[in-house]
């Protein structure tokens, strides 16, 4: 029988652990951490497609997250639609926005794309905060009690947990499929050396656009799931800079451009965030920034490839020692 590699074995154990988590940790506090972890993993994995694989660093992905978050609750408030019905509208808006930003900036070399994403996300946040139609600074609310299953408003966290887990599994499957196809190879080539990739016939603009649109679709979906679960959205929690930075940090911490890196990063960062929030309560409201800053410094200094690369190095070292013995 073929032996499982340590990485595959670790992933299999982790997957079983994720499936069983709500059955073992029934306490709402721990369930909430589980749901938050899954949402962060979805967002960071979505960011990873364009930021990690293609190396196009977006620092304003909250624009897609926010559009996805606002659409379900806006259509619920305006028309009484089930929030779920707003999901495709949020996705469509995000794709249009991705095209508007990507088409001009991806033609340029340098950091124009990164700068454009920050600028647009901040503009949308400020604009949303002053526009009464979308609730201005107060934001929007979803249904307080479920009118039916289609409202996706549940009393406990467990149904959300399994919905989010399903979305994460689908996203990882799609990403894995991309990795194995020409598209995935082209993304990595663009990230490594765009000029060389072009000289080999890689349609760079087209590939970057496709990556950004796919990334926007799943980031928007993450935003929708967040808004439907919390039943509330305001400019800061939808379009805030911290939303974007969290995606970048999680992907970079775990390993940007790897399939499981963002999941690994979320697994470390989300419990850490919950712990600092619990320890310091309201007095530690600025601590998140310090935590993020510290993580950026540590990754940049000691492990630019993220913890997943460190894991691969450890396994490689273990194997070479075993083979030598």
């Amino acid at each position: 029988m073929k032996r499982l590699s340590p990485t595959r074995l670790g992933i299999a154990v982790f997957a079983v652990g994720l499936l069983l988590y709500p059955l073992v940790f029934t306490n709402p506090f721990y369930l909430d951490i589980g749901v938050t972890f899954l949402l962060a993993a979805i967002s960071a994995s979505a960011w990873n497609i364009v930021g990690g694989y293609a190396g196009q660093i977006s620092v304003g992905h909250s624009m897609f997250f926010g559009l996805g978050a606002y659409a379900p609750l806006l259509f619920y408030q305006l028309l009484g639609w089930p929030p779920m019905a707003g999901i495709p509208i949020g996705i469509a808006a995000s794709v249009v926005l991705a095209i508007i930003i990507g088409m001009p900036t991806f033609r340029l070399t340098g950091h124009y794309f990164s700068m454009a994403t920050i600028a647009v996300a901040e503009l949308i946040r400020i604009f949303t905060g002053t526009w009464d139609f979308v609730g201005a600074a107060i934001g929007l609310q979803g249904p307080a009690t479920a009118r039916g299953w289609w409202d996706l408003t549940f009393r406990g966290e467990t149904p959300y947990y399994y919905i989010f887990l399903g979305v994460l599994a689908a996203l990882l499957f799609i990403t894995h499929t991309i990795e194995r196809r020409r598209f995935g190879y082209y993304l990595r080539a663009i990230k490594a050396r765009e000029r060389a990739a072009r000289s080999l016939g890689v349609p760079v603009l087209q590939i970057k656009m496709q990556a950004l649109m796919l990334s926007a679709i799943f980031t928007s979906l993450a935003g929708s799931l967040y808004a439907i679960k919390t039943g509330f959205i305001d400019p800061e929690s939808g379009f805030g800079i911290l939303v974007s930075v969290q995606m970048v940090i999680i992907a970079a911490l775990g390993g940007a451009g790897t399939l499981f890196g963002p999941v690994f990063g979320a697994l470390i960062l989300i419990p850490l965030q919950s712990a600092t929030n619990t320890w310091f309560g309201g007095g530690g409201s600025g601590l998140t920034y310090i935590l993020y800053g510290g993580i950026i410094v540590l990754i940049a200094r000691f492990e630019p490839g993220g913890l997943f690369e460190l894991w691969h190095r450890v396994i490689a070292k273990y194997r070479s020692r075993r083979d030598a013995a």
């Binding site: 020409r182 000029r195 990739a197 000289s199 016939g201 349609p203």
Partner: protein, 242 residues
């Protein structure tokens, strides 16, 4: 005629890097571009590869006007290039690097991998197929660049100092690799400073100086040209055919 570059000029502001260069290449030729540093040969080379838009002039490849075509379009039509400083994809394996080139003609992964393996075998990189590109030394990277371009099935290959910085033994291997590529029916344009390479491989040479083509013809005639000796080779150069 496979490639026609007519009256090509390239200016950067008021500086004219290439001034009215002409190059006509028949299918199956090997042509060398030589000249001192800053002579304009690399700029001309980049114009041929679609990496730099020409200021004036026209470039025709196999009857198609490619003067304003993108580098991607150049690759699709059958023009491949290497870079002076090897531009390998460092975080990909040698096989994956070559597969990126192969995907141009073989969209499916298995087909691309099979073709890439053949090219890797041909270019002597088989032992390194699963190694990271970053683990290779300069000769290996230069060879990998050639392999990557070869995998895209070019009709014309532009080699930008692909044989520079090699030891004599590595140089002999590289020259024999270029000869093998030529035997496959691929036309070659070589920018090179090593005269041994030019004298051994090429049948026609263009000499650049200060943006102008100051001489062109057979290598053995060009190296005796007083203008070339004055501008590039110096009086101590001994002409020798490999």
């Amino acid at each position: 005629m496979l490639l026609e570059a007519r009256d090509v000029s390239k200016s950067f502001g008021s500086f004219r890097a290439v001034a009215g260069a002409n190059l006509f290449i028949e299918e199956g030729e090997i042509v060398g571009l030589i000249g001192p540093n800053g002579a304009g040969k690399s700029t001309f080379f980049n114009c041929l590869a679609g990496d730099m838009p020409v200021t004036t002039g026209q470039i025709i490849f196999d009857g198609h006007d490619i003067t304003r075509a993108s580098p991607e379009a150049h690759a699709r039509i059958g023009i491949g290039r290497t870079f002076q400083l090897p531009a390998t994809f460092e975080d990909m394996t040698v096989l994956e690097n070559v597969m990126v080139g192969a995907f141009l003609r073989y969209p499916h992964r298995d087909d691309a991998r099979e073709h890439a393996r053949k090219i890797i075998e041909l270019t002597g990189l088989a032992a390194h197929a699963s190694n990271w590109a970053r683990s290779l030394g300069t000769p290996g990277r230069k060879r990998l660049e050639i392999a990557r371009v070869l995998a895209s099935k070019p009709r014309l290959m532009l080699l930008d100092e692909s044989l520079a910085g090699l030891t004599p033994a590595e140089l002999r291997d590289a020259i024999s690799l270029v000869k093998r590529i030529h035997e496959m029916g691929i036309t070659l344009v070589i920018v090179e400073h090593i005269m041994e390479v030019i004298m051994t491989l090429t049948r026609r040479v263009l000499v650049f100086n200060q943006g102008h083509v100051i001489a062109s013809g057979k290598p053995e005639d060009v190296v005796r040209d007083p203008a070339v000796i004055a501008a590039y080779l110096g009086h101590g150069h001994v002409p020798r055919r490999g």
